[in-house]
Symmetry: C2
Subunit: 421 residues, 2 copies
């Protein structure tokens, strides 16, 4: 299978992009190649499709179910009771909806942590995008649960290949306050042994830091370093409550961090992600949406705008996180964080590409594509999405979208009814 993108705007110049199999094969001013599919690029700009560094995809089912509540009450009376009733089929439809929403806003990779791993993996496989998927690993210090969780992760790892090459199995120790030291050590060892990513929440709230100091006598980053958990395979999400020493520890261990500005603001976590400090040290940083219960969408362009505005406002400096840097976090930096062979458009890379419709009011007049994408456009400006060399959206139409919305809606309302019964 081959695709020719004919005359798309790439870094301000009209180019032809030839895709063969799942990779970009050539980029040039004019390519005279026979292709199975030709896409007219007139009025469209090509960018690497986006990376969503942290989410719980199937939480689309809980979008708008409960908002504007104190965190503890929200979790205990709304989110957790409903999650307890979720089935693998719910997760499957919730993730299909999430994939649909991500494709429609230009995202083709997401890093997930949620329940019923197989439901998520099946949805991702079918929808044509990529994901690193981890099961929520929580043992609360209960040795029996630790053993169960380890067995589950070993089984998922053993069977991981049945969902194809776009689905990556990852480990998902939830956080230092929900996972025992023994389990954290097991995750670290298993990840090193098998070459897996580890997806963890880190320093999201002040309470996490103060509890860690009480329990372990050190702050979270130091604690994780001491038990041999840290390394470039660790994807540390949130990282709001970091001090200078924490940042140095993350850098020294080449940990990758994911900032989730919308969720941090909506849940009022109380501290701004220390972007300038992390960026100055060269820590690889991606952006994420978090789950739809705390965002409530999966639009990476909106996320990037919020990230940039929050930094500018917080630091009092309108120059922090310029548009290009924010766009890099969605593309090249995101790809580096997760070891993806995408994130920039050049021969040899995976054909993971989004085409932006420049005939959109928010992209007019278009002096500067990065600025328009980050500050003006939303995901709805994306016209075409290609992942792994396959066209997933063209003219904003995704195959089966009506059915996915209908089934996810049905699953969500039935779930809430079951939880209330």
């Amino acid at each position: 299978m081959s695709i020719l993108l004919h005359g798309v705007l790439l870094s301000g110049e009209q180019k032809d992009i030839f895709i063969e199999g799942n990779r970009i094969q050539a980029i040039s001013d004019r390519l005279e190649r026979a292709a199975d599919t030709m896409i007219a690029g007139q009025g469209k700009a090509a960018v690497p499709s986006f990376v969503n560094g942290h989410t719980h995809a199937a939480m689309t089912l809980l979008r708008g179910y409960a908002d504007d509540m104190p965190l503890k009450e929200w979790l205990e009376t709304k989110i957790w009771p409903v999650e307890a009733h979720m089935t693998e089929e719910d997760i499957y439809w919730g993730t299909k909806l999430a994939c649909l929403e991500m494709i429609k806003s230009g995202t083709t990779f997401f890093n997930d942590m949620y329940w019923h791993w197989n439901g998520t993996a099946r949805a991702v496989q079918e929808m044509g995008i990529r994901a690193a998927i981890s099961a929520v690993f929580i043992d609360l210090g209960d040795a029996k649960k630790t053993r169960e969780q380890i067995a589950l992760n070993e089984a998922l790892y053993a069977a991981r290949e049945k969902f194809g090459t776009r689905v990556t199995f990852a480990l998902g120790p939830h956080a230092i306050y929900t996972v025992s030291e023994e389990a954290l050590r097991w995750c670290a060892a298993f990840a090193r042994d098998k070459g897996l990513l580890i997806h963890v929440h880190l320093a999201e709230t002040e309470e996490e830091v103060s509890r860690c100091l009480e329990t372990h006598g050190v702050r979270p980053a130091r604690y994780l370093e001491q038990i041999g958990f840290l390394g470039p395979q660790v994807i540390a999400c949130h990282c709001c409550w970091l001090n200078e020493e924490d940042i140095a520890i993350l850098k020294a261990n080449d940990v990758r961090v994911v900032h989730n500005p919308t969720s941090n603001m909506k849940l009022a976590v109380g501290r701004v992600f220390p972007y300038r400090e992390l960026h100055a040290r060269g820590v690889i940083t991606a952006l994420g949406t978090d789950g739809c219960a705390s965002n409530n969408n999966l639009d990476m362009l909106e996320t990037a705008k919020l990230a940039s505005l929050l930094q500018k406002f917080h630091t009092g400096d309108p120059v922090v996180m310029p548009a290009e840097e924010a766009l890099e976090m969605l593309t090249a930096q995101g790809a580096r964080a997760f070891g993806l062979e995408s994130g920039c458009l050049e021969p040899g890379r995976w054909a993971d590409i989004a085409l932006v419709d420049l005939n959109t009011p928010t992209l007019t007049p278009n002096f500067h594509l990065a600025s328009d994408l980050i500050y003006a456009a939303t995901g709805s400006a994306i016209d075409t999405v290609i992942c792994d060399g396959k066209i997933l959206m063209q003219g904003r139409r995704v195959k089966g979208e009506e059915e996915i919305m209908a089934k996810a809606r049905e699953a969500a309302f039935a779930l809430v009814r079951r939880a209330a019964a």
Copy 2:
């Protein structure tokens, strides 16, 4: 002319809405009326179309032209030099583009302050939406300029009716640091005499407050009260740097305030709009986008999300500005602020209505329309827009949109070339 909206979702129930002339004539479970136009409401929710409380519409021409710069350098080296070259024709096309963008995101009224009043008014008249339009009144204490500005505003006022009933002439004294006391007093008197709105920037930056204290010995709100400027006709925009006394003064004078969260964050104004305090006192508050150079779009749903998230994050309280309140600011509160006979859907009101496409991923599953609109959707979820009883958009198509984008693009690039020459 009459329109029947058949079976739309209104506050969670299927309703028929009958529009005759420019007003909602009836709302009921089932209306058996012959209408000139019938719109099938299946899968759509009706909401009052939105109010954009503060913008400089034609700044769409400068979208993405310069960002990520220190404020002073940005204004002096980029924005002002280009603005100096703008013609009425530029303003016309820039405003057409702004109107197109607003229609496409559900907005049918905006409060504008910019150059070449006639260009803005002509665009608004043609595009079918409503606006309160003021000319930028700046005299910098120069008596000759004061006289010129007064003459200009008197002339615009005298000729205001030629642009029809949807265009409202307003006064636009820019700010206390750019307009003389004499001119401010003139604006106040002229507005009272003629029943006009006054559009002013107030307490946007700390420098404005400190300069006012130096010059007048009091803070901006007190200064304006002392010179008899304040009243319910005053639309005070930004209002970030208010203290308790300022808030009491604004309330006592029934001033209407407009919060522009995106612009405040992007320009790093250093202080969060004191929403809780103003809301507790019942000050009428609308939301605005500000101009596209400092936002960089005109999407009121994005603006409302940012407003709510910024309040939650800043106060540490996830309960502040819940979705319903944010939506009210775009609709009922916005209408109250500007004296519009719209803002809620009931018989007798202006037929200014937006239909939301519920078959959109971000509106799925749709447990709660206000939450989904504010936290999940962007303006791209709006399918149909009616203003003054006329259909301006249906199925996301606006008449002439391709030409508007092409002409505005052309005008913007030509303008920048002229400014650089």
